[in-house]
Symmetry: C2
Subunit: 448 residues, 2 copies
């Protein structure tokens, strides 16, 4: 864990350069590729091959890669999980977990409803915007060892609220070919997912982007995944829409002298336990708080079941920075552009207006990141790796598109037609100019 | 030009399948590649090489490809066009064209201002959305033979209205190394573009996406371009945001028995003159109108300076379809998902609500597509190739991102904390559960 003093040193430590975390693979991954493909391929080459195969061979390629890469045997008949299995999974989960999931789902739904943009036409100008939902969305939910039913709620519900006709979920079976994680299926039931396919990895993204005999082609693929899923999303961009490319998770906590070091450390550790590549970053204006948080991190780490992962994340990416004032803290936060920016300061609402780049901003002690992960309402699928500079959290807007409405009245068109024709002539487009002029002439009783 | 009767036959003719027009190249392009690179490379391979070179070698790669591919010699000092040249170009254009461009710019600005979403927080829930602009946008404007100053207004102004700090324009020099098209520079002046670089093709996209010694790295690359520009945009997606991938332009006109065949034909020809690959599509419920439009197309074609291009487009992609009613017409329109959908019908506002997939919808005789191209207000940069199924017209939303705001009060958090902890435990994330529980215990006077 790096401890850094001063703004300039903080800048250096938090500048991400142009590294794309989602495009680099560990030596272990490269070795596994070589073993499976009998060739030293890059992850990008592997994914390119998988995409091509699924595009041209459909189901059989999906099933083949599922067997080869996931070690799971699925046949065409069982590729789609029957709808009844979702309800069964829902009925089988413990009542208190079910209640927690239902509460989360209701809050996600209600927040997304509040985010829905409205179509409008300005009657004075005849111009407006008409929002329409995509027809089909494909949601990816990782499975196997780390299954996140919460992610199903956080992706599928925004799609349904946006008005998507059919939401497809792709999620891999467990290693024992026992089918997808039951809690993931229960979440799919709660979220109102229309169809579930037991498939994972790049082959799942390809199946949804191109369509196969069994899997319908969608308009957008979304949700987090491993490097192969993410590369596949990058490469199908344009064929379909993509919500974003997600890497390891990140939390940046900004604290002033009023912050509770116990809570700061707990929130940083919640971040760190996700993944050895997770990034817990702490920026404070108080030297005392900095020292206390460092001590608390060491103390609380010992109590964590996942202390090995958390320790690796702290060691690898953990940074504690001391700065002079909150303006410097926010400047560093905006430079880093984290997935989660938590403001443990006296006046978080005031500081928030200076946040320019973040997936989500968490205001004060009662809004820890864990609330955002599960229950607050906004989707926990948020831009990582600095992409908050240009990308948004997942929400209804990702599943909507806007059609510009152009409904000029005759008077307006006649006031503008000459200018349009002149501009068109300047670009050498006489047919365009004529389409305008012909209307102007007609109104004067002229013909063509 | 195909003439088709009936809905089912229309469906077959207008189904695009999964063809990506922006990913296929003509034999001439492939030959030129072979000549320039001494290898039979695909356009994608060419672009991949260019991206890598610019990424690692910066300016010198940009200048090298500009010389090699565009036949234009530019040195580092003249890569950026001096600001004074923009004002000079603006002063030098004819007064009536300047007026037309100023009128267009004012209307684009005013429409985009009306489209600006507003940040909000619901005080009851503590949740909201904070919209912030990207810091830097890179706009591409094709140059050389076909320069479109209107496109500069239609891309740069939405970025400026959204609040982007610095808008960069990339546009190639003319073949004679005389610098960019002066009307394009004048448009850049009007739009308030901050910096202009004379560069084109994939190397321009790479320079803006990665940054070079001279060209600042941007957060989004946008605007239309040829196949190399479009492939480059596809491949840098994720590194930066991309507005969309654009192919040849398309207009689909829906007409009932009330439509004026002269105007229908003029609008289809305005479309057709763009490009031999442009798609003019006509769908009508009236057999009489269909016959009249066919006759008018033949008659008006003869008057067009660009009749060869327009004839090629009509021959290659032109389709006239006769259907039974307007519901069938709209269903075909939504299937085709055109860039422009023009409703030359008695009640366009009523029909509009059934439009699901279109870049822009043009209502009635006084709203021809030419008005949208130049002067109506909404950006003429709209999704093509069927991507209106999932993409929107260019606008402020492309240059904004939204940060989710999570500001729960203590009471709300305490009501939800147990559910959050339970959900976290179910996913095996005890550190998350602890971050919630520690807050609940504190309020009961407990410690850690």
């Amino acid at each position: 864990m790096q401890v850094i003093k001063g703004f300039e040193a903080g800048k250096e430590a938090l500048d991400r350069g142009s590294l794309r975390v989602w495009d680099s693979a560990s030596p272990q991954v490269l070795d596994r590729i070589e073993k499976l493909f009998n060739e030293r391929l890059t992850p990008r080459e592997v994914v390119s091959r998988i995409l091509d195969s699924v595009r041209w061979r459909g189901d059989s390629a999906v099933l083949g890669y599922t067997s080869m890469l996931d070690g799971v045997d699925v046949d065409v008949e069982s590729l789609e999980v029957p709808k009844a299995a979702l309800k069964q999974a829902y009925d089988a989960i413990p009542a208190d977990l079910r209640k927690a999931m239902e509460t989360a789902a209701a809050r996600v739904r209600s927040f997304q409803q509040a985010c829905m943009p409205k179509s409008w036409i300005d009657e004075a100008t005849g111009l407006g915007e008409q929002f329409t939902p995509m027809a089909r969305a494909g949601v990816y939910a990782p499975g196997g060892l780390a299954a996140y039913p919460s992610t199903v709620l956080m992706t599928a519900i925004p799609a349904k609220v946006a008005g998507v006709d059919e939401v497809t979920l792709a999620t891999p079976s467990g290693r024992d070919s026992s089918g997808p994680n039951p809690t993931v299926l229960a979440a799919a039931y709660i979220a109102g997912v229309d169809r579930v396919f037991q498939m994972g990895g790049a082959q799942a993204i390809a199946a949804m982007a191109y369509g196969t005999e069994s899997v319908p082609k969608v308009d957008i693929v979304c949700g987090p995944g491993n490097i192969f899923v993410t590369l596949a999303k990058q490469m199908v961009y344009g064929e379909v829409a993509v919500d974003g490319l997600y890497g390891p998770t990140e939390t940046l906590v900004i604290a002033d002298g009023s912050a509770d070091p116990v809570l700061c450390a707990a929130d940083l550790l919640a971040q760190a336990e996700h993944d050895a590549l997770a990034s817990p970053v702490f920026i404070t204006t108080s030297e005392t708080v900095l020292a206390q948080v460092a001590a608390e991190l060491a103390r609380q780490l010992e109590m964590l079941p996942k202390r090995n992962i958390a320790a690796a994340a702290l060691e690898g990416q953990g940074v504690l920075v001391l700065v002079d004032d909150l303006d410097e803290a926010i400047a560093l936060g905006n430079l880093y552009s984290p997935e989660h920016m938590c403001l443990l300061v006296e006046e978080p609402r005031k500081l928030m207006t200076k946040v320019r780049n973040a997936g989500g901003v968490f205001l004060g002690e009662s809004s820890p990141e864990v609330a955002g992960d599960y229950i607050a309402g906004p989707s926990h699928v948020m831009p990582t790796g600095g992409t908050a500079r240009f990308n948004s959290s997942l929400g209804v807007h990702q599943f909507l598109k806007v059609t510009s409405v152009i409904g000029l009245d005759s008077e307006t068109f006649h006031a503008l037609g000459e200018d349009a024709a002149r501009f068109a002539e300047a670009e050498g487009l006489n047919g365009h100019a004529r389409a305008a002029q012909i209307r102007l002439e007609r109104s004067k009783g002229g013909g063509l």
